[in-house]
């Protein structure tokens, strides 16, 4: 039976935030409970009076989803006294929790199964928490047109499992505020800069803009606190360091003066201990990039950034000249002002010339390998490729290495000589002009065989079916490369199922993929499978049906938000589904939208595999 639910999202939100103090001061309990105790079993004639019940308990996330590792933080907004906590699961059994706040105002616990949880706080004050099953919570992103003067924003969308259609998912979009300001240097001269305002806890809703010739910028941003990143453009020999203003709000956007920065200098040495010329160096200090410099004839560099007085966490990136075969370096460290960084490739790391390699691809017609033109990418990681010493007498930091060497084989398959680190764990991604993609794992010492053969691809067979096990035609299957394949920056083709719901997806032998199965018409939910390799034969990808969910977008002035892009994301998914929208629609001229939302089922989108 079709059931329509006009306003329940509001109701559920209210319920989650509502107070349900079961006992209160006169709730029938006579004392406080020790951690882990049971309500009502504590106290005695001398037991102290219980503290008062609190008005509210906040949960983060507000609409949690069950999962073995899914945590919920319960927080008293205004701590009154020492609090006693207890968590009961849907089965009535106590759940372990950890204090998440020094003043005992918050706890953290795992919601391992869906159902109604009960959180006791302050001796008998009980707060209900509904935990949904997996796949029922979505993230709705709404991007109005530029003319609407409404910034992009997101809302959670929770869908109960027993409805076939739902309406009333109406959202009033915040109008936001026009932040206007001017970026100047210490001499009050305008600065050309990139400006990005990122709402706290909503990285995906960043608003970006640029200053004009007079240093002015304007952007419509949400209310609340943002991280404001300002990256001045290098002009001539003047290079100002990027900086961030934390807890920034739109009212602060008047005149922003680029703060004085700290120079961070150092040098880079190659495997032989010689100064390395032409390496690109940059740090990200507490998430903010520094300026970029290239080592000079003495292997020296100087970048500029902002370092706290007692040092700042930073990530160092060094990219050596491409033709030397050296790996790119990444190191997590603490950077201090005034100290010189000594970056030394490990002498134990060997980079050796490789020559005489011929690339071949399997020719089906000839039933044999045939040499030919190809692009070959050697990729892999080296746990420790260099040491970084800041001269402060502290611990030397290890830098990992990332190998990425690209070579082109000619028509005869011959690869010109090149340099490659002699380390384990490297792979060669072969992309022949004629033939299929293949990945070849190199030997333990990174030895490159004289013949690099791209083996014949082995397709996996995907069968997309609906809940009733009917084949679904036109379903899109994308194989997203991982590992060495991803490093090779390859394009991602997509394939569509035939009338029976079948499709053979060719995968590079030796490669690894995330497989994404999407209904481009959005009448069914999607499915994904991570770390898929060739040779796996899939039975079925079961795509759940979709529930039409309708709603209305409006401004606080009750004006419809027309032609807004409404995208639905899986809020608690991992992998490709977490960043790609499940469905994307436009609101109409009245601000109304209708989304086919993948239906939550007892057996949500899944893939069964057999070897």
């Amino acid at each position: 039976m079709r059931r329509s639910i006009p306003t329940w999202p509001v109701a559920i939100a209210a319920a989650l935030l509502a107070v349900a103090c079961g006992a209160g001061l006169d709730g029938g309990d006579d004392g406080s409970y020790p951690d882990g105790g049971v309500p009502g079993d504590g106290g005695g004639p001398d037991a102290p009076l219980p503290p008062p019940c609190l008005g509210r308990l906040d949960f983060e996330p507000a609409q949690p989803v069950a999962g073995a590792h899914n945590e919920v933080v319960a927080r008293i907004p205004e701590p009154l006294e020492v609090l006693d906590w207890q968590v009961l699961g849907p089965d009535g059994r106590p759940r372990p929790f950890q204090l998440a706040d020094a003043d005992r105002a918050a706890i953290r616990f795992v919601v391992d199964q869906p159902g109604d949880y009960t959180i006791f706080a302050n001796s008998g004050c009980l707060f209900p928490l509904a935990v949904a099953g997996d796949g029922t919570i979505f993230k709705l992103r709404m991007v109005p047109t530029m003319t609407e003067q409404v910034p992009p924003q997101e809302r959670d969308l929770a869908l109960p499992g027993d409805v076939l259609s739902a309406s009333g998912y109406d959202y009033t979009l915040e109008r936001g505020n026009l932040a206007e300001g001017v970026v100047v240097d210490s001499a009050q001269a305008p600065v050309a800069a990139y400006v990005r305002a990122t709402p706290i806890d909503h990285e995906d809703l960043s608003v970006e803009t640029f200053t004009d010739a007079s240093g002015r910028f304007a952007a419509r941003v949400l209310s609340g606190e943002h991280d404001l990143l300002v990256v001045p453009q290098a002009t001539g020999d003047r290079e100002l360091a990027p900086f961030r203003i934390g807890q920034w709000t739109w009212e602060q956007a008047t005149t922003i003066e680029v703060p004085a920065s700290d120079p961070i200098s150092g040098f880079v040495e190659d495997l032989a201990g010689d100064r390395l010329v032409g390496a690109t160096v940059m740090l990200r200090i507490d998430g903010v990039p520094t300026t970029v410099d290239t080592t000079d004839g003495n292997g020296a560099f100087t970048v500029r950034g902002h370092i706290a007085a007692d040092g700042s966490p930073a990530t160092l990136t060094v990219v050596p000249p491409y033709d030397l075969g050296l790996p790119r370096l990444e190191a997590a460290m603490t950077v201090h002002a005034g100290r010189e960084l000594a970056i030394r490739y490990r002498p134990s790391l060997v980079v050796r010339p490789v020559s005489g390699v011929v690339v071949r691809a399997y020719d089906r017609a000839a039933s044999q390998y045939v040499a030919g033109a190809a692009r070959v990418t050697f990729a892999g990681t080296i746990p420790v490729a260099a040491d970084v010493d800041d001269g402060g007498g502290g611990k030397v930091v290890h830098a990992s290495g990332e190998v990425l060497v690209e070579v082109e084989a000619g028509a005869d398959g011959a690869v010109p000589p090149f340099l490659l680190p002699a380390v384990a764990g490297l792979s060669a991604v072969i992309d022949p002009v004629r033939g299929n993609l293949a990945v070849v794992a190199l030997g333990a010492g990174g030895a490159v065989p004289s013949l690099l053969d791209a083996a014949l691809e082995v397709p996996i067979h995907v069968h997309a079916i609906d809940d009733a096990e009917h084949g679904l035609p036109g379903i899109q299957v994308r194989a997203i490369p991982k590992g060495a394949l991803a490093a090779a920056s390859l394009t991602v083709p997509s394939y569509a199922t035939n009338a029976s719901g079948n499709v053979a997806v060719p995968l590079a032998p030796g490669g690894s993929y995330d497989l994404l199965v999407i209904d481009p018409r959005s009448t069914h939910g999607g499915a994904q499978r991570e770390h898929v390799v060739t040779g796996e034969a899939f039975e079925d990808f079961i795509l759940p049906g979709a529930t039409p969910v309708a709603g209305q977008l409006s401004t606080p002035e009750r004006q419809p938000v027309a032609r807004a892009v409404v995208s639905l994301f899986c809020k608690y998914c991992s992998g490709p589904q977490s960043v790609r929208p499940l469905v994307r629609v436009l609101s109409n001229d009245s601000g109304a939208y209708q989304l086919p939302v993948p239906r939550p089922t007892a057996a949500p989108a899944r893939a069964r595999a057999r070897r």
């Binding site: 991007v143 047109t145 530029m146 050309a192 990139y194 990005r196 608003v207 970006e208 803009t209 640029f210 990143l229 990256v231 453009q233 990027p242 690109t280 160096v281 940059m282 990200r284 998430g287 990039p289 970029v292 990136t317 990219v319 491409y322 790119r328 990332e402 990425l404 690209e406 994308r478 991803a486 490093a487 920056s489 394009t491 991602v492 083709p493 997509s494 481009p520 018409r521 959005s522 009448t523 979709a546 032609r563 892009v565 995208s567 960043v579 790609r580 469905v583 994307r584 629609v585 436009l586 109409n588 989304l595 086919p596």
Partner: protein
Amino acid sequence: MRIAAAVVAVPLIGCFYTDPINERPSLEIRHIGMVKRNETAHFTALVHDDEPGVDLHWRAFTCTADGATCDETPFVDTTYDELTAMVPDQYLGAPVQAIKVRLEGRDHYRAAAPPVERLFAVEDTEPTVSLSSESSIAGLFRPGIAVTVSATVSDLEDHGDAIAVDPTVRDPMGNELELTTLPETSPAAGRYEWSFVPDKAGGYRFDVDATDPLHHTAHQRLTVTVGDDQPACLDRRDPAADAGTLIVSSNRRFVVESAVDDLDPFPDPDPGDDRPTQAQFHWFATSPAGGALVDAGDGPDFVLVPSHYAPGAQVEIRVEVSDRVARTLPCDAAAPTCSIGGDGCLQRFTWRAEIR
């Protein structure tokens, strides 16, 4: 003498009596309107008699058009005062084209009126045809999109099956195109549906001749104007900021949120409908090895991975939109934007980013 003759004559006049002589009646057949097959015809008699009360006898016969040959057996035989009868459809295997009405009458002296016969031509009206057209997608007539033409054919006398319907469609050059008769067609119900696929823009003339068994023909023409397919336009994009060089420090999705197109808008405004395609996007990005833009795949988004580039690298991310019609962009490969129409409808857009 004269007086005696007069005296004799007076009683003679008063002694002779005779009944008036009964005139036999005469008849006329009257009919107003047209006589049509499969319809009721109504005839009245105009009786000329010296007394009322003439018994009438009507008979009607189907005849050939000239009345030279009529059925010997009347299709109606009645003694009512008026004749009301359904005109038959067929005579001698052909539509009835005339009927002969014979009227006889006798007065109550049994004096018979001279029989009267009149030949009435059976009227035949031509069929009527009405046409309408619709597109299989969004009400738009575009090359490559099937056009469905519906016809309703009716005839006052003839059943739908008896009407011969002959459709033709010609392209703007006057060439006849192939028509497909759709399953919804039901001649008995006078309902026809055909489809054709225009291959170019212009006016397509759709003509239908409907001919009844007596070769009365109706002709109807419908002109379907097929417009050019419009190139898709890139609409909303993420990042929306495009006036400068973006700073990219972590994996960054570049997304086309929407594209405007007559047939292939993105996203599909009505998910789940039978719209076969949406606008397609093709991406290019500066090679990590530097220099040229390289193919970066299809789809509504592209993920820029900064770890593939050196810090400070200047990267271009380009997207081009296409719809079902293959077009060559009229711009230099180095142009960051391109518009086929030279207006605000962009088919190419390029972001600039710096890796940090």
